[in-house]
């Protein structure tokens, strides 16, 4: 989005796209060379406070070079569009490798690990290209900012926001903490696990789980073809929901009508379902099967591995009528957060609704999936990211620049 009208006099660019492309390629190869020498060790972003010191020195140097040597042809080239474009393509190609190949563990010594193709976004080639890209972006930003002209506001916001979000996002990564805290109903815990470093960390507060709840979508029934391992679509093309009175038809096979539905029941000695309390039983439905005139009535059930109750399904033709629990609609933990200083906070953790506690954001992450709706364990993720405000400032600057760009674009389009 660089404007074509230069606001300050810059040196004549000594080289164009070819040199820029070659430079980018050499940078990538140099990065690959480091990976080979370190057996794919990748780059470690410096931790606090060195990441901030690096950022200040790096940013300060860019500003100084941009202002002091703006007329040097080399500096002009370093902050020019040809290099910027080559680096954009370089980042896109490296991202493409990272976006195609699985970013996961591979056996040591394989080409994937030696070149760190399985950890592209923390690899030396990616880091070096991004670093030079930040220099390129930074130089052009300084030139467009000093002297200040309102006409360049859109450029400043977009490029400045991108520089801020990219640099702070990458440098702040060393301070990002994402911890998993398993909590059990009726118990409190401050023990958190870092999956990356496999370390145990004690949070400055404990989480007491009062109650864990799961809402499920309505259970459904289906006609299962065991020979081809597929579900046969009913005439209505809808997966029938389990409600009293629902009828589903399969052309040429038969129909099923739900006569009764018990969302929580347990089988008695004869196998007949008896209603029990909430979350204490499994789903049962009494169905009438009409197999082209041959009528029968029977119970079906989804069963439960957690309660060790086998599912009940019935044959119809060469197929089976089976019942499936609905997928989870919502799950939440009602908790009490207890600080080390004794302060207490009642909170409800739910997906998409994190809660803040002493600078930590707490997320409803998961539960015991094997137990499903009977789970009494909740997994909470505690996240701390001190660099987030800087990254968000970058995002909002990009969006503000975008609004101006959109407005300018529409105006030019009107004139076209």
């Amino acid at each position: 989005m660089a404007g074509s009208n230069k606001t300050v006099k810059t040196g004549a660019a000594p080289a164009g796209f070819r040199e820029a492309a070659l430079f980018t390629l050499v940078t990538i190869l140099f990065g690959c060379g480091i990976e080979i020498l370190t057996s794919g060790g990748g780059i470690d972003v410096p931790g606090w406070p060195f990441n901030l010191i690096f950022l200040l020195l790096f940013g300060g140097s860019i500003v100084a070079v941009a202002l002091l040597f703006r007329e040097r042809p080399m500096v002009s080239w370093l902050g020019g569009i040809p290099l910027g474009l080559s680096l954009i393509i370089g980042i896109a190609l490296l991202s493409l490798v990272g976006g195609v190949l699985p970013q996961e563990e591979y056996p040591a010594g394989s080409i994937m690990t030696v070149l760190r193709l399985n950890g592209m976004f923390s690899s030396w080639p990616f880091a070096l290209v991004t670093l030079i890209f930040l220099i390129n972006l930074g130089l052009s930003l300084v030139w467009k900012t000093i002297p200040f002209r309102a006409a360049n506001l859109q450029f400043m916001l977009f490029h400045g926001g991108f520089w801020l979000a990219l640099s702070c996002g990458l440098l702040g990564n060393s301070q990002l903490e994402r911890l998993v805290v398993p909590i059990y109903e009726g118990k409190a815990s401050n023990v958190a696990y870092d999956n990356k470093t496999e370390k145990v960390i004690h949070l400055p507060f404990a989480i007491f789980l009062k109650d864990f709840q799961i809402d499920e979508y309505v259970a459904q029934f289906a006609l299962y073809d065991p020979q081809h391992d597929v579900v046969i679509e009913p005439k209505s093309k809808l997966m029938p929901e389990l409600h009293k009175g629902v009828k589903a038809e399969w052309e040429g096979i038969g129909s099923v009508t739900v006569l009764d539905y018990l969302p929580d029941a347990l089988p008695d000695a004869k196998g007949m379902p008896v209603p029990v309390g909430d979350k204490k039983g499994v789903r049962f439905a009494k169905v009438r099967i009409d197999e082209n005139g041959k009528i029968s009535e029977t119970w079906i059930s989804s069963g439960s591995e957690a309660l060790q109750i086998k599912p009940l399904f019935v044959p119809m033709g060469g197929y089976y009528i089976v019942m499936a629990d609905g997928p989870p609609k919502a799950f939440r933990s009602n908790v009490m957060l207890i600080g080390d200083g004794g302060e207490r906070k009642v909170a409800r953790l739910e997906v998409n609704k994190p809660v803040d506690m002493q600078g930590w954001m707490l997320y409803q992450m998961g539960y015991d999936e094997k137990a499903g709706r009977y789970s009494t364990m909740s997994l909470v993720e505690a996240v701390r990211d001190p660099w987030l405000p800087a990254v968000y400032l970058g995002f909002f600057m990009i969006m503000a620049g975008n609004v101006l760009y959109f407005w300018k674009g529409v105006k030019k389009m009107e004139e076209a």
Binding site: I89, S95, G99, N402
Partner: protein, 265 residues
């Protein structure tokens, strides 16, 4: 209305577009037929809008989750871009490509029917869901239109019939598409922070969204360098394929097994 009615709706929409397009031939000399042609073409899109609305009600959630559902939106919105371009800028050919693309999307949905599925996983139940997906949808629609305009311009170039009006059209569609693409990307990041704890995790879908964004960022810098517009038409024509990988191609890549975006498959 549910997917049972989809084949009839798709047939009605495509029939309207075909009838409207055919009527454009006699419409050159007959104003009344011209109006009738537009009634048909707009009716095609109207039928789809009606279906989308009633499908939304029947689903009890926005029909924006599966690939089939997003194709329905493209099929509804792409012709609208063609109509607006003709109304505002008197460029008549774009609408035919747009209706053709829309018919193709309806055809794909007919061949690979979705399952009527009301469930929306908890992570998708967020105020960000509709803005994030809709902004992306409109961006893709703009960039698809810019892609077909690009190819049209390439063909015009071969026939020595270049049109600067038509080339600036593909450019502005790409420009507006890029702006919306940026919003979609950032909305996605802000939402990811709320749902999954971090704004960027290099998930394959995120990575491809970033690559497609870079592709159009590169385009705008080529424009700033005053690159030959003929080359830019090729660029626009080809860039859309990167978006297609991001839209559904990513599901077939080796990296997709680790994606958190599997619900869209």
């Amino acid at each position: 209305m549910t997917l049972v009615d989809f084949p009839a709706i798709a047939f009605a929409a495509v029939s309207c577009w075909v009838a409207g397009s055919l009527l454009q031939i006699p419409a050159r000399s007959n104003k009344a037929l011209g109006t009738l042609s537009w009634v048909f073409m707009i009716a095609g899109t109207g039928v789809l809008t009606w279906f989308l609305t009633s499908y939304w009600i029947a689903l009890e959630r926005p029909p924006l989750r599966t690939l089939g559902e997003t194709r329905l939106w493209y099929a509804t919105l792409i012709p609208v871009v063609g109509f607006i371009v003709e109304y505002r800028y008197k460029i008549v050919w774009l609408k035919y490509y747009c209706m053709g693309l829309a018919a193709m999307f309806l055809g794909i949905n007919y061949m690979h029917p979705d399952v009527f599925e009301k469930a929306l996983m908890p992570a998708l139940q967020s105020p960000w869901f509709v803005p994030h997906v809709v902004v992306y949808l409109v961006a893709y629609v703009m960039l698809a239109a810019s892609c077909v305009a690009g190819w049209h311009n390439v063909i015009l170039g071969f026939r020595n019939k270049r049109s600067s009006k038509s080339e600036s059209m593909s450019h502005y569609l790409a420009l507006l598409g890029f702006v919306l693409l940026t919003f979609g990307l950032i909305f996605g990041a802000l939402w990811a922070k709320e749902a999954w704890g971090h704004y960027w995790t290099w998930d394959p879908k995120e990575t491809w969204a970033f690559i497609s964004w870079l592709a159009y960022l590169g385009y705008l810098h080529l424009v700033a360098r005053k690159t030959d517009s003929r080359k830019l038409q090729w660029y626009l024509g080809l860039s859309f394929f990167v978006l297609l990988v991001c839209w559904f191609g990513v599901n077939y890549l080796p990296s997709a097994q680790n994606s958190v975006h599997t619900y869209s498959g």
